[in-house]
Subunit: 494 residues, 2 copies
């Protein structure tokens, strides 16, 4: 067995243990009763220790050196590159830093759960200080290992190949036109009237409707399931993708579009190259590309006129006892494209969402690079919210800088993925429309040509290309904010 | 850390991995879509290799020697004994035998799935030959390690402390009175009439009824769940017990009593001593004791007159649209105590079940001890079925010696547990009635005194006593078939 083959075999062994963690993690969120949590947490911690042990086996260093000297095909060279990237990401941190960060993050997150409702920035700041300190240490070590700035080294964990230089260009572009676009759209929507869903929408009917929509989106039920959890997610493994949603019986709309979103994530996982299963080259390219699939489903397909018409029709059938005016397709379109300047990112609409992300990106970039301190965050948050959305968060920490879980866990560098995903999705659609009659395809109810495009250009590539090459091969150029601007302008002012 | 403490810590590590296997195993049966099976099988195999690796760490030999020389309390000595028993069971077989047996069993079981419906003994015999050969090798090695006969060494995997000498005594006793008792009961039941449930009993209503019955049996829903699977079982871990059932919409009766049975298993797991969680001394005493709990629930409580009355009442409420005559309590009693001489063990009633078990026990004992060959089985099966139940299985392999999965997997020594469990359960009830007014307690709907007795005498003991001591402390004597005979006679001829 060659060194390369040994590395592939070792990766598959790690993947087998991650498989168990993925299923037990899904189970924790979707199935486990409360009394099971402590023993489960211990079992998961034991598993993570073991996976870390496998990732850091000393003999891997020599195996990588040997494999790099072997006579490999071009694809194998790329697979090796991904194997090594994954290994280095897991190896570069000293064990005591990993443990200290893990404790500090857990402490910060746990306290945050009650500090946020209490609007207690003073209390939060004490724990968060340690999270920032250790995250900066992590970023510094990763920066030295990769020759990047500290923030870019963190960004690389989620968006390998992306830099803050390119994010600055993209997001600065967005900032030149987004605030005015939002104002114009609000002005336009001011006079529109809308029938808001009211009454009781049973979980049973919502689930049946969700399953119908998943079928329309060709979710493969032989390789996945839909269940419920407090926080919707897409988990499991590529041959068995577990998506979840949360049902609010007073409003079906959010859960329904949430299912469309998670189905996008799921189809990416289901479509990853089977020949590379269990190896880093066979996994999703990045968090941003993952989000580009969910947002392609949710925003590009899901909010298109013909899809909205189908969705309204299906919902009307499942909720036949409710006011038919809700399920009028124009009303449905309005329901799903209402714009509002508001405080909370997770509740934001398609148009204002990028403002929430850019604000966070600018703050976390400067925080990790040591340009600002964590105590500067509340004021910066307020300034940027005023600039981008015209809202003040002075003294309003719980709906301001304390609203997200990400930073409490030291996940600096993650936020850009959301808006990168939205931008990639707009670019795919613009290019797809050159060869696929998207509107008619959606209207026909057989969306196969759309999925074939995604399968061919994105899903089947796994991590065999850099993100830039993936996008260039799919769309003819690297990420270009103009597609996103045009999409938003057409949809909201067209 | 003392050697004893190191061994406890190591056992808890193994238990953490077993936890992941238990949840993923439950998931395979209750949740996993078909396309997930291959990757899951690989992940589970990887986990089992790792658990085997942990069980066979060379340093454990010295640790056990060290721990045995340490100054331990009486309870710690017993814990150590159980740790060592579990370690020896996992260690005594050479790796190549384990692998060969695993392959032979998988091959035999897989082929059996189609050979059984085809009644293909000739085909089955070719694979089964290898299973028997390797099981005999295993039994021989275990016999040498424990100083027992080969069959007793296999029996010890499921019923530590029990020997075929004592089983012979117990079962020979049963054989003196069971055939006549069955005939007398059949004669008595001949003239009885019965309203058989007919129509459609929806899965939703059956599940709601099942959950009501679980509440009556004080299943702790903070530490467990009820789901569906093709083959009902009790899995998961003590803090998160997963029981399953199968719903037949044309007949609720079997599933309903199946839930009572699995709830008995579950409450034993939920009631195991928390201070010993994750160590062998904190687990169930034996398969027979486990079955004594499920059968105590199913046969002693579940088929008692006041419980049957409650069950009939609850079922009548959940199936209000059906013929009320079904849910008359006398009809319900008859429904659940019908006796029939038949071929299939898993469908057998309480009274004929021991005949099926004794037949298998006598054959597997002689097979593993080399007294008979596997080719003798069909004829022996036919002879014993004729002697015990008056039925011939000549040429009828699929409803004869090919009906069970156990032997295809080399699980020789398991069958006695079923009837041991039934006998223990009868003995508990006879003794419990000396201090608990069982009938009134069940009639009152608050069964707590019954569960307190079980909790105190069985559940909380885990594996801290030998089976004989457990039974003696609980009932004043070791297992005595007279209790079982009296129970059956009272119920079926009383
Ligand atoms: Zn997403
Ligand atoms: Zn059982």
């Amino acid at each position: 067995m060659s060194a390369f083959e040994k590395l592939v075999k070792h990766a598959k062994k790690i993947d087998n243990f991650q498989h168990l963690g993925a299923i037990c993690g899904w189970d924790m969120a979707a199935m486990m009763p409360s009394g099971g949590s402590q023993a489960r947490a211990e079992a998961m911690a034991e598993l993570n220790v073991h996976i870390h042990h496998l990732n850091t086996k000393p003999e891997l260093t020599d195996l990588f050196a040997e494999a790099e000297a072997e006579n490999l095909s071009e694809q194998q060279k790329w697979e090796l590159r991904e194997l090594k990237r994954s290994w280095q990401n897991a190896n570069v941190l000293p064990a005591d830093l990993v443990e200290a960060a893990s404790l500090a993050n857990a402490k910060c997150e746990h306290a945050w759960r009650s500090q946020r409702p209490d609007n207690d920035w003073q209390g939060f700041e004490k724990n968060f200080r340690e999270v920032v300190k250790l995250s900066r240490e992590e970023a510094q070590i990763r920066a030295e290992a990769t020759g990047q700035t500290p923030y870019d080294a963190m960004l690389g964990l989620y968006e390998p190949g992306t830099s803050s230089a390119s994010l600055d260009t993209l997001f600065d572009d967005v900032k030149t036109w987004l605030p005015k676009l939002v104002d114009d759209v609000l002005e336009k929507q001011k006079s529109e009237s809308l029938v808001i869903p009211q009454g009781n929408f049973s979980t049973t009917s919502q689930k049946a409707l969700g399953l119908d929509v998943m079928k329309l989106l060709q979710f493969n039920f032989d390789n996945g399931r839909l269940d419920q959890s407090v926080h919707p997610f897409c988990g499991g493994v590529p041959t068995d993708v577990r998506i979840t949603t949360r049902y609010d019986e007073s409003d079906f709309a959010q859960s329904l579009m949430g299912i469309v979103h998670e189905t996008g994530h799921a189809r990416y996982e289901q479509g990853l190259p089977k020949s590379l299963a269990g190896t880093p080259a066979g996994t999703a390219r990045s968090m941003g590309i993952h989000e580009s699939q969910s947002l392609f489903f949710e925003m590009q397909v899901g909010r298109s006129a013909p899809f909205i018409a189908r969705l309204a029709d299906l919902a009307g059938k499942h909720f036949a006892e409710h006011d038919a005016a809700i399920f009028d397709k124009d009303n449905f379109q309005k329901l799903y494209t209402r714009v509002k300047k508001d405080y909370i990112r997770v509740d934001a609409d398609e148009l204002t969402y990028p403002a929430h992300v850019i604000l966070r990106y600018e703050i976390e970039r400067d925080l990790i690079n040591g340009v600002i301190e964590h105590t500067d965050i509340p004021e910066l948050w307020d300034q940027k919210m005023q600039a981008y959305l015209g809202l003040t968060t002075k003294g309003n920490y719980k709906n301001g800088c304390m609203q997200d879980i990400h930073w409490t866990d030291g996940a600096f560098g993650y936020f850009p993925s959301y808006t990168l995903g939205a931008m990639y999705a707009a670019q795919y659609m613009a290019v797809m429309k050159q060869t696929v009659d998207v509107e008619s395809v959606i209207a026909s109810g057989d969306l196969s040509p759309i999925f074939q495009w995604l399968e061919q250009n994105i899903w089947s590539k796994g991590s065999l290309l850099s993100t830039d090459d993936l996008i260039t091969q799919a769309t003819g150029e690297t990420l270009n904010a103009a597609f996103f601007k045009e999409h938003l302008t057409n949809r909201y002012l067209g």
